[in-house]
Symmetry: C2
Subunit: 591 residues, 2 copies
């Protein structure tokens, strides 16, 4: 198929000059364009395929960028990016210095609000709409496009609840495909499921109860119907809600059939959707799978173990336990606040709850960690996947703040395993007889050991270890960045002068070990895959100040700015925590 039409669309103004009859053809071209690029460059697939027609209809019917369009989460916005002047650079999607995988205000005036985390669009669009009211602009349209998984999050409810008592010119478009990354869950989803194109359940319409005018459901792949209803909706003031039913992965048969797998499938054959074989022989397992498989192993023997994930069963690998013990493993949907307090409630009844949350998403439940778990000293175990730099998902998703925001919380222990075996032993120890809450943070991606499944050993909480001795300088690393340190030291001619310690715990610090280190060395490097401000290095500095050591200390970590997308090693270079930068830092300090 050619791209005869798509190649003429350099902005939505071009789009709006097309006759309506041409739009289905454009949709086919746009869909093909997305498939062709994602097939080779990787990225999110299913969500964008599902909204091809909706994207065209929105930009055709509304006067973007004057009318303000906010995409929730934003991994479905590839078509939006391609139609708004970014077609020719779209192949740089999710690469360093390329396009962000999500809408981003610094990238285009059509990206009205930066997204990445879910359920923000209603609040943001309502803010814009109320601002327009204050400016006296009652014509401007404000549209939030939100999926059925995202709208079930508490934050979206807060936005709807407020919008319903305003006269804001807000249109909420529900993109209902019955799936987030994994299938949607919850009572609201069950309720939505009753609706079909052309059939609206008569009773108990939550949306109408919240004072929204409800329209639809309409077929989200029928551009003509969409355009007709958008024209009607433009004439109606106040908060409006349009229920659109779409199919995730639409137009690529395999993606429609396996929506979880094709959310972000990796490389595939564009024509057939067939996944390209990816040889993992000889590669260590992913940390998430070590977590998921180890938890399953432990849960088989310990019936007090419960697992909770907010909407990431596949991503966190809790799905192993969910399959084996569905009654003890809970996907609560995009509801991090609820997930944490639910865990606290279960812990009060004597259960050992593993709450698996990406580091970046625990930011959504910060108060619950403090107020419901730590303050009551409930022994909940937080398994923070995707801690540190996560790569292509970029600034919205890096899990780099966790050490800083967690270590100020009393009662909470924070561990960061240097490899998969440590992770496994931490999980094992956590379910033995935990007395306080524990955070275990580990990175996205693969580990470093092939023989991860070793016999369990009990970990002593708050105890670090010496990995390599040395005569002149000590490097103290926390977590999996230990591997970069190991490689850097190996490269050094003066390797014998450099000791390497694995702190293992941010909290409690191994004060005995630190005393040993600071008595022996006056040149120290701390390193972490997290922000320097308030991070692990900062904890070491507090120890040093308290005990009046006066060494030369260099703290390595993520600097005080947001890090964009790229391959993890590229981003480590930017943050100067890659092997070479560590090598240079040690060399300089040795001089």
């Amino acid at each position: 198929m050619s791209k005869n039409i798509l190649n003429t669309i350099n902005s939505p103004s071009d789009l709006r000059r097309l006759p309506k009859e041409k739009l289905p053809e454009l949709a086919a071209e746009l869909r093909k364009f997305i498939i062709d690029i994602v097939a080779t460059k990787e990225g999110h697939l299913g969500a964008s395929l599902g909204v091809v027609e909706l994207t065209i209809a929105l930009h055709y019917a509304f006067n973007t960028p004057d009318d303000l369009l906010v995409w929730d989460v934003g991994h479905q916005a590839y078509g939006h990016k391609i139609l708004t002047g970014r077609r020719d650079v779209f192949h740089t999607n999710r690469q360093l210095n390329g396009l962000s995988g999500f809408p981003n205000r610094s990238e285009s005036p059509y990206d009205t609000f930066g997204v990445g985390h879910s359920s923000t669009s209603i609040s943001a669009a309502l803010g814009m709409a109320l601002a327009s009211n204050l400016k006296g602009d009652l014509q401007k349209q404000h549209i939030a496009v939100i999926g059925d998984a995202s709208i079930a999050s508490g934050m979206a409810f807060e936005g709807l609840n407020h919008a319903g008592v305003t006269n804001a010119n807000l249109l909420v478009v529900l993109n209902d495909n019955a799936i987030g990354i994994d299938p949607s869950i919850g009572a609201l989803k069950q309720y939505l499921t009753k609706a079909r194109v052309g059939y609206k359940p008569a009773q108990d319409n939550i949306i109408e109860a919240l004072n929204f005018k409800y329209f639809g459901p309409v077929d989200g792949h029928d551009i003509e119907s969409l355009l007709k209803i958008f024209e009607d909706l433009k004439k109606i003031s106040g908060p409006k809600f349009l229920h659109v039913i779409t199919t995730k992965g639409k137009g690529l048969k395999k993606a429609e059939e396996n929506q979880v797998k094709y959310h972000a499938p990796g490389k595939f054959v564009a024509d057939t959707g067939e996944l390209l074989p990816y040889n993992t022989d000889g590669l260590p397992l992913k940390y998430q799978d070590v977590f998921g498989l180890t938890l399953l192993e432990l849960a088989e023997k310990n019936e007090k173990i419960i697992g909770i994930t907010p909407a990431m069963p596949t991503g966190s690998s809790l799905n192993y336990m969910m399959d084996a013990f569905p009654e003890r493993a809970f996907d609560v949907g995009i509801a991090e606040q609820h997930a944490v307090t639910l865990a606290a409630g279960m812990a009060t009844q004597g259960f050992t709850v593993f709450c698996a949350i990406y580091s970046t998403f625990l930011q959504r439940a910060y108060d619950q960690v403090i107020h419901d778990v730590a303050l009551q000293n409930l022994p909940v175990i937080f398994c923070l996947d995707r801690a540190g730099l996560v790569g292509e998902d970029g600034a919205t998703h890096h899990g780099v703040f966790d050490i800083a925001y967690l270590r100020c919380i009393p009662n909470l222990m924070i561990a960061a395993p240097a490899d998969e075996v440590e992770l496994r032993n931490l999980l094992y120890t956590a379910q033995l007889d935990l007395k306080s809450p524990l955070v275990i943070r580990y990175p996205r991606g693969r580990g470093v050991k092939l023989n991860w499944k070793q016999e369990f050993k009990k970990v002593e909480f708050g105890k670090g270890s010496l990995l390599k001795s040395g005569s002149k300088l000590a490097v103290i690393s926390i977590g999996s960045i230990a591997e970069n340190v190991r490689l850097a030291i190996e490269m050094l001619p003066e390797a014998d002068q450099v000791a390497h310690y694995d702190a293992k715990f941010v909290k409690p610090l191994d004060e005995k070990l630190l005393h040993e280190i600071f008595k022996k060395y006056d040149k120290i490097i701390t390193i972490e895959d997290g922000v320097i401000s308030g991070g692990f290095g900062s904890a070491v500095l507090e120890f040093v100040s308290k005990h009046q050591y006066h060494p030369e200390i260099k703290c390595l970590g993520i600097p005080d700015n947001f890090i964009e997308q790229g391959i993890v090693y590229q981003l480590q270079e930017i943050a100067k925590i890659d092997v070479h930068s560590i090598y240079l830092c040690i060399s300089n300090l040795l001089e």
Copy 2:
């Protein structure tokens, strides 16, 4: 009225031995008891008066503490405390080493879940109920009592949404009095308002849409009706919802008439409810009023200013602006996440948004500060009231983590004025031409200056100042704790040896000033009204390490444990940031 019955109730078992006919008399005694003590000891009043009958009925009908009762927020739980063995110590409520003003697991087995922040009860009780299911205990009852303001928060929705797809033996009791601390807002509230005792709106029942069996509304002051329906509900499995209508302040006429004022009225005449005069002549204004009045003053001239509060118009004093400019000042209800992202949306449209949130409640919107505001570098101004130790509200409410959890966020500036004049000038400067987000943190309570309303002066961001020079040692304080430092230095015989600097900004740090200080002094004390771990002192340590100074530094602040309730100066003593402790610390370091 005597306390003939109440004096015989040392636990709910005693209560359950009473004949039903005696319960209204007990209710009258309990109400009187609460009024008498709160009249002289202060505390929350209206909420507990509103649930006297409900409290009695719950403990009478259910087999507490085996049946698990969770109070949301918990300032309504005075009756519960008095009936569960704490009658004779209730006069120590909210005092140091006395009873907590909120349910607290360490205080009583009847306090099944510690509360203080709102909207956690459904998640917690659901966790308990699912735990009972796993234990095979299908008889145990799990009850969450939640107000109509709290249930409109996103977190409560998340809990309902999950509960609705479980078979958990959960009863949610909605205590609907149409008011939180200020009147409830939002579409859900409007919806609930349609319901009356004996009349349930037929259409669009949100609760039923979420798969709950809905009962009521019933009169929450009619014990007999309550008991009858509780007996019925016990026999029904799965998630159930009972809508109870109550009057906040019930039984004290003035409290019923002025529910906002009598939420926590201070001292009053027990018989009449008349507030005792409280002479404020000669006292400085409260920080919150300096904020509220200054914002109003600025908003009168700058029509781009918008104010937002999540459910604290009175507590934050945003009500001055709400009265004068209702279209530009928004109470969004208990919805911190929404409040922050709404502010971000407005800021994208060129408005200057002041988001007034208590420090402890900003924990509820941490991700939104990072992801929606700071990452996009939107110039939202966060006015963090109740920063530092707040006193009688205790561990759940101290605003001591903010410096630590905020200073790791790129782009964000953090200021802490030493007095009201600095606060005023910060507010003035913030609305001139702000380019980045700004946090201004200030304490609960009164300031230190009578002449607060001085002419506005522009503040230079990131600039500290010398308050007092000295020859040997420097104290660097951040925020209003400066006053304690001033008094401590005044007491010192060696006052002339001690310099005092006001950092004013946690971020950006005044590096020029810090270089001056560290070049001149090798004995330094940092002090803050916040946690030491990762706090302001820690930022100074990072500076010191980076620039290779080697002074003796002592970091004062809140230690790494939760601080209970008490008068602020008592709590400062515990944290060793009171005047005397500072005096001792300086003296020791001078030796």
